[in-house]
Every structure is written in C-alpha cells, then in structure tokens.
C-alpha cells in the first residue's frame, strides 16, 4: 500500500498517494499537473526544477516526495495574486529576461529565495547564488538585470 503525503502547495493542502521513492518534481508535475516546475537534468545541476520549500530554494528533482509531508511548497504557479504578478516576475518581464523561457520558472524562484534572505544583494552575491541555474540561451545578462531590478537596484552594471 502506498503511503499518503500532504503537501501545502501554493497555500493549498494537497494529499497524494504515492510510492516512497518518487521525487517532488514528479509528484508536482504528474500528480498535481503543476508543470511550471521543469525537468532539466535530474542531478540538481541546472536549477530548472527550483521550488521553494518553507521559503528556501530546493531542487525538486533531487528531493524525495515522501520527505515533503506537511511542508509548504511554492511553485511558479503560486506567485501571482490574481492578475497581479510577483515583483520578481514583473522584473523578468520588464527586462525581457527570457528567450526560450524554459529556465525562467527556476530562475524566478531562485531569485525570490535570494531576495527573501538578502533583499539587497551585491552582483557578486547574485552570481554566487544563481550559478546553479542554467540558461542555455545565454540570457544571463538580462536575468542579472532583472534580479537587480527586483532588488530595487540600478539595472546597469557598475563598471569595475
């Protein structure tokens, strides 16, 4: 008999009955059809599957779903309030910080996690934090600008 786990996903309790070895990524995508969280590598090396668990950055592809019982999970689908987007989403739109857009949900959630614990990061801190998130279209310049914007900083680089 598979166990049941209850996840608080984007503020709503969701109970799923699942085998104990499945990842949080698979449960979000397959059982809850929250496909905004992406598969990119399955190794925690690309950040496409980034979600927030109790406000902290987590790679859903490496996280056993069974360990998530009772935890609060934020996915890209849970950021907007009605038509009002989260400030990080707005910043990504304002800077055109996406090309194919597949990395975008993970980028936005990783940036949110950074700003949650460090609302005024330096460029160096942003790069350190975001280095685990890949953009294969090479859009790092604009994503960096979007994060600066979301942090209320000037979007242009200060030249060293």
């Amino acid at each position: 008999m598979n166990p049941s786990i209850t996840l608080i996903v984007n503020g709503t309790a969701r109970t799923v009955t699942t085998g104990s070895d499945r990842t949080l990524l698979d449960v979000l995508r397959e059982d809850l059809q929250l496909t905004g969280t992406k598969y990119g590598c399955g190794e925690g090396l690309c950040g496409a599957c980034t979600v927030l668990v109790d406000g902290k950055k987590v790679h859903a592809c490496r996280e056993p779903a069974a360990g998530m019982d009772g935890k609060s999970i934020t996915t890209i689908e849970g950021l907007a309030r009605g038509d009002a987007l989260h400030s990080v989403q707005e910043a990504f739109l304002a800077e055109g910080a996406m090309q194919c857009g597949y990395c975008t949900p993970g980028m936005i959630l990783a940036a949110m996690a950074l700003l949650n614990h460090n609302p005024h990061p330096t460029d160096e801190q942003i790069l350190d934090w975001m280095n685990g998130n890949l953009c294969r279209c090479g859009g790092y310049t604009r994503i960096l600008r979007a994060i600066r914007r979301a942090a209320g900083q000037p979007v242009e680089a200060s030249r060293s």
């Binding site: 499945r22 496909t35 992406k38 790092y140 604009r142």
Partner: protein, 717 residues
C-alpha cells in the same frame, strides 16, 4: 578511417535536403473552420493544386512549400480577431514576435491584435524547417507579402461595397477609412461577407510592394515576446508539459553502446509490474506506466534480462589522428604558389564534438485516435517530423498531426523526430496517450552532435608581409563559411567528408564556427609572423565594406588601439571577424589567465554586428548576447568524450556549459543598415567568439592553443 554502423543515420538537414518521399497532406476546409471558428470560408484549392504540381513532397524541407492563398496565411474572424499562421517554430530565437510584427506592419495594426498560430501541421502552411537563419530572409517576407495582399483585398472589398474609387481609401488601425466621406469600416465588418472570403481565396500575388523601411511603425521596434506572461507564470505548456486524459509516461530501454543490437530479452518481469505496458520490436524496447518512476522501474527490470551484441566503435582519442591522416593525404593544390612565398605557415586546428544541450530535452506526447495520430513535440521541423512519423508508423501524412508548442531551446539540435516516433510506438502499444521525455543522459548520448573536425591551413606571405596564398582544408565538420572573406591572390578551400564516429548534424551556425576559429586564429598567427597588428593585418587584405565596418566598430568601441600595446602576462586581448548567411560580425575579447591553474577567464567581449535592416532591436540584442555566451561554451569547456560506442561525459557534472559566473561583460554594438534587406541573426554572432578568445590567450601568454575547446592546461607553468 574507422567506419561506423551509425553513419547511415547521419542527419544534416542544412547540408542534405531531406528526401522528398510522399505527398503532403492538405488542410481541409472543415478542419480549418473547426479550429478557427466561423468567419471566412477558407479555400485551400490553391494549396492542393500546388501539392499536385510538386508530387512527392514530404514537407519540412529547407524552404517548405509556403502558402499560395492569402487565406492559408491569414484569417480575419467576424469578431475582428486576426489569426496568422506559420509553420515556423518558436524555440527562444524570437520568431513569434518578429513574424507577428511583419503582419501587423502591413495590416496597419497594433501587434497585440494578432494571434499567431505556429507549427501546427493541421493548420499552418509549411514554411520549412526553422533553421539556417531562414525565418528572417524567407518567412518574414512571405508573411509581409501575404499581409500586404490581405490589406489590398480589404481595400478592394471596401471600395466595392461603398462603390467608391479605391484610391480614395486608406487603411489604418484595423479599419478601412474613406476620409472624404468621413466613414470607416472595420476589418471585422468586412469579414462578415462572402466577398472577402472569396478575395482571400486568391493567390498571393508575386512581387507585391511591401512597406519600405523608412515607413515602418511596427517592424524595427522592440516588440517583446507575445506570450511572455505565460512564461513567467508557468502557464505555458512546453512540449514536455503537455498532459492528455489517460496519459501514461514512457521510458525507452537504451542499448549499452552505439550500434548494439538486442539479441534476447525477457519481458515478463516488467509486464508483471502493476499498470506497466511493455513493447518490443527488434532492438527497440520500452515501457509505459502511470508514472515516470514506474516506467523507469520497468525499464530497469527489462535491462536486467536484456542481452546485447555490441561491435567495436571508435574513440575520441584516436579520432583526430584519423582525421589528420585524411588531411595529410590530400596534398596541396597550391604547392607552387606556396613555394614562391617568402614565409609559409602550416598549422592544424581541432574542433571537438559538442552537444546542443537545450535545457528542455527532447519530448513528445503521442495520442492515437483510431488510425490517426497526434503528436505534440519539441522540434524545429514540424512537417519533417510529420513525414518521419508517417514513414515509421506506416501512415499517410494526412493521418499524422504534429503540433510544436513553443519549445525549450533548439540551437539546431532539434531537426529530427526520434522522440516523437518513440512516443507514438509506445502509445500505439499502450492504447493510451504516452508522454516521453528524454533524460539529460539520453539527450547527451542519443541526440545528434555538432561534428568534430580537423582543419589544416597553409598560407604564404610575401616579402612585404602580405598574404599571397591560402590553402584551407576542413575534414568532417562542414563547409559553412569556409571561404575566406579576405582578398588573397591564390586561395583554395576544401571540405572533405569523413566516416563519422558519432551521429552528427546541425548546430547554431554549423561549421561556420569551426572554420572561423581556424581561419581567424591563423590570421593572428600570420599577423604575428608578419610582425603586424592583427587589426591592420586584416584590414590590409579586406575589401568587403560591411565586414570592415563591423571590425572597425568593434575595435574602436573596445579601445583596441590603446589596449593591444598594453599586453601583460596575465591579461590579453584578441579580435576576430567574419561573415555568414548575409550578416557580419567582429568581436574583441579580453582574457585573464591564471597560469598556475591553467584557467582562462573571459572578462569582456565587445561585439559589433550587422545584419541589414534591423527588424526588432531588443530581440536582436538578446540573440547576440546569447550567441556570445553559448559561443564561450564551445570555446572553453564543451567537449564530448566517447569510447567504444559510449559517451563518457553525458551529464552537466562532466560536460560544462556556461554559467552565470562565466558570462563576461558583454558589449554589443548593432549597426542598422536600413538600406539593406534583413538577414537572420540567430547564428552568425557566435562565430567570432572562440577565435577572439584564442587570440587573446596568445596575446597574453605567447601560447597558441589550436583546439576548440581552448584547453587552458597548455598554459600551466
């Protein structure tokens, strides 16, 4: 040269036109009206006639067949909504915005009024594979022509209805205006009648005048991607996100090495697992299950009983030695010219196999309905995939419907439909829709690669240090941009094919990257031999004004004249330039070396780029920035290692692609040539990055590294 059993399925659609195998299916009026709603009655008679005139077109070739009638490109509904149709794909390169702009410009509309349907073979014209920087020079003009034709037909119909002179009417903001009589009629109202439907069923006239650049209002602006909001909210369903009722998740049993055949397997243990469907045909075996995890468990069970017969396969270690033998055996046709030169240089360059590694791996959802098949997949070639599916599954093209949702990256890597075929086979066996998404390891192993190559160059300088003879051989990687842009009295270039050890195909800019890397590195070597500044050495033998302009612009913005003489052992600058597919690029790079660790950090890339009249400056800037970053991967770290039919580094842990911290300061200078037709821009900005970096490494260290990736190990002291 070792031969390989895998050479038969080489894919290189940009060099080899896909075989035209079977008649193309045609959109029926009923299908069209069902999807787009009532409104115009759509005639596809012109389309069918064209299909008959060119028998056997499988579709998805380089150019596609395009639409012949206005209606096949553009639909105006009675509520005024405007639907534009294209066979092109959006994979991040910006085609959705630019194609929308092209129609909005000619229809005199806000771009927000247009809904663009892309890459749905049941609805759209075949605009060919989304590749080769072809959308800008071919699809954009085709869309502009169709939209201009539509605008003229709207004027015709309005004039007829009002019984006025057509030339008294103007089109503005989605309506036809009769300024003398102070009246307007909206496109929606014109769409109410049969007269417009009849008009739209006409052929798109050839050579119809389109709006000149000087009058552009929508083109030439930075329209953002129309569906950007769905990307930041997670609402957009990429191919791997498509969910269908009753859908199962698939997993394929992969051979242990390339070319291995499955000799025996026991399906029973996998079949015994709850909810699992197992399918085997020859060496193809796979499972479908209610969850991916269950499908993986089932495939693991299959793997335990599978017996494979493998054949010896080549390794990356011996590969370049083999290519070198091919090059050496070919001799030089310019022996006499080289013998007369004062100084002769002779070097060879290696370019490794690399993968595209789009962040979204290949994925497909296949659904059968009786004998009809619908597949949602990530591909740059929807009509080509339709043909592949039809051929693989014994269907006619009419029985196959391919839909490509906006996709998570392609870069030339998604021209084929193998994942679609696999999903369709599993779905047919399962009797349920099946979602199949390749793992990262599968993507690194079973997708086709950018071909490795060996390039050998011999060149001669005369007593005055001028370049007089040039002999250039590319073995295996390709012939794109193989001709030097320089004026050289005696020049020979050759591309030699070799038996490829891996399945190889297109990649952003194809072999233009390899050929530019070798040529521009070698130009630097020649400049050094001639004791000349690399900039003035190039300009001396460069007549092409467009290339001179970007080279001089990049050098000026970078401060080349001041920075080149300020060399240090740890900081160097380099430049490179080139042209491909009608656009022109030059890059200057600054590198910082840590010779105790053999590391190369690119601190700045300053790039000038010119591609004729700019359609969308914001999107163009993103493409150029993206090319610089992607180009740094191939320049510095990306390299596929293989041995005996196995990929040794099929993970991001062992195949390093550029990350945030690798991105340098990128300065882009776009030259807008409004007097020239727009050329595609998603590829060429990649070609100058690697040689500029290699030249900067030499500038600082005096060490010439003649390989891509540029391995810093050679710098270790």
């Amino acid at each position: 040269m070792t031969t390989s059993p895998r050479t038969d399925d080489r894919v290189d659609p940009e060099i080899y036109e896909p075989a035209e195998a079977r008649p193309a299916g045609e959109l029926t009026r009923r299908d069209f009206v069902q999807v787009l709603g009532a409104g115009l009655l759509i005639s596809v008679a012109g389309e069918a006639a064209l299909g008959q005139r060119r028998p056997g077109g499988r579709g998805g070739g380089f150019f596609g067949r395009g639409p012949t009638t206005v209606a096949a490109r553009l639909h105006i509904d009675r509520d005024g909504s405007i639907t534009l149709l294209t066979g092109k794909v959006e994979a991040g390169q910006g085609s959705r915005a630019e194609i929308t702009q092209a129609a909005a410009e000619e229809l005199r509309l806000d771009a927000g009024r247009i809904r663009l349907i892309m890459a749905d073979t049941g609805l759209v014209p075949d605009d060919g594979v989304t590749a080769g920087s072809g959308t800008t020079p071919r699809t954009i003009p085709a869309v502009r022509s169709a939209a201009a034709a539509a605008r003229e037909l709207l004027l015709d119909v309005a004039a007829e209805r009002w019984q006025v002179e057509r030339k008294a009417l103007r089109v503005r903001d989605g309506a036809v205006a009769d300024e003398a009589a102070k009246r307007t009629i909206a496109y929606a109202e014109l769409a109410q009648g049969e007269d417009l439907a009849k008009a739209f069923a006409r052929q798109i006239p050839a050579n119809l005048a389109v709006t000149p650049v000087s009058e552009w209002k929508v083109l030439g602006t930075s329209l953002a991607r129309p569906n950007r909001r769905e990307l930041v909210t997670g609402a957009h369903r990429f191919p791997s996100d498509v969910v269908r009722p009753g859908m199962l998740y698939g997993k394929i049993l992969r051979p242990p090495s390339f070319g291995a055949t499955l000799t025996s397997i026991d399906l029973a243990p996998a079949r015994a697992l709850p909810g699992v469907v197992v399918f085997r045909e020859g060496s193809f075996a796979g499972c479908a299950a209610p969850s991916l995890f269950q499908a993986e468990q089932a495939v693991a069970a299959l793997g335990k009983t599978a017996r494979w017969e493998s054949r010896p396969q080549p390794s990356s270690k011996e590969f370049f030695g083999n290519l070198r033998k091919n090059a050496a055996a070919s001799g030089s046709p310019l022996e006499a010219e080289l013998a007369r030169a004062k100084q002769v240089l002779h070097e060879s360059y290696e370019v490794a196999y690399i993968q595209h590694a789009p962040l979204e791996p290949r994925a497909a959802v296949a659904e059968w309905d009786g004998g009809k098949l619908t597949v949602w997949t990530g591909s740059q070639n929807p009509f080509g995939v339709r043909g592949e599916l039809a051929a693989a599954l014994g269907l006619s093209a009419e029985q196959v419907h391919v839909i490509v949702p906006d996709t998570g990256g392609g870069y030339g890597g998604k021209h084929t439909g193998e994942v679609a075929v696999e999903a369709a086979r599993l779905a047919r066996a399962a009797g349920h829709p099946v979602s199949l998404r390749w793992s990262r390891e599968e993507e690194f192993t079973w997708a086709y690669f950018r071909p490795a190559g060996l390039i050998e160059i011999r060149a001669g300088l005369d007593a005055a240090g001028a370049l007089v003879a040039w002999d250039f051989i590319n073995v295996n990687s390709g012939g794109s941009a193989i001709e030097p842009p320089y004026d050289i009295p005696h020049s020979q270039t050759r591309f030699l094919r070799a038996a490829a050890p891996l399945r190889q195909g297109s990649y952003r800019a194809l072999a233009a990257t390899a050929n530019h890397f070798a040529r521009e590195s070698f130009m630097d070597e020649l400049a050094h031999a001639a004791q000349a500044d690399p900039l003035s050495f190039r300009l001396r033998c460069l007549k092409n004004e467009r290339l001179r302009a970007v080279l001089q612009q990049a050098a000026q913005e970078f401060g080349w004249a001041e920075r080149w003489p300020r060399r240090s052992a740890t900081t160097g600058v380099g430049l490179a330039c080139g042209t491909e597919k009608g656009s022109y690029v030059a890059a200057c790079a600054e590198v910082q070396l840590d010779r105790s660790h053999g590391t190369i950090q690119v601190r700045q890339v300053c790039q000038a780029f010119e591609c004729g009249a700019i359609l969308n400056p914001g999107n163009l800037l993103a493409q150029v920035q993206g090319c610089v970053v992607m180009g740094l991967g191939g320049a510095l770290t990306e390299e596929i290692h293989f041995n005996d039919g196995m990929i040794l580094n099929p993970h991001f842990a062992t195949y390093a692609v550029p990350r945030f911290k690798d991105a340098p300061q990128i300065d882009v200078h776009l030259l807008n040539r409004a007097d020239l037709p727009p050329a595609g821009a998603g590829e060429t900005p990649i070609v100058a990055v690697a040689p500029a970096v290699a030249n900067a490494v030499f500038h600082a260290s005096g060490v010439r590294i003649r390989s891509m990736p540029i391995r810093g190990k050679a710098l270790e002291t």
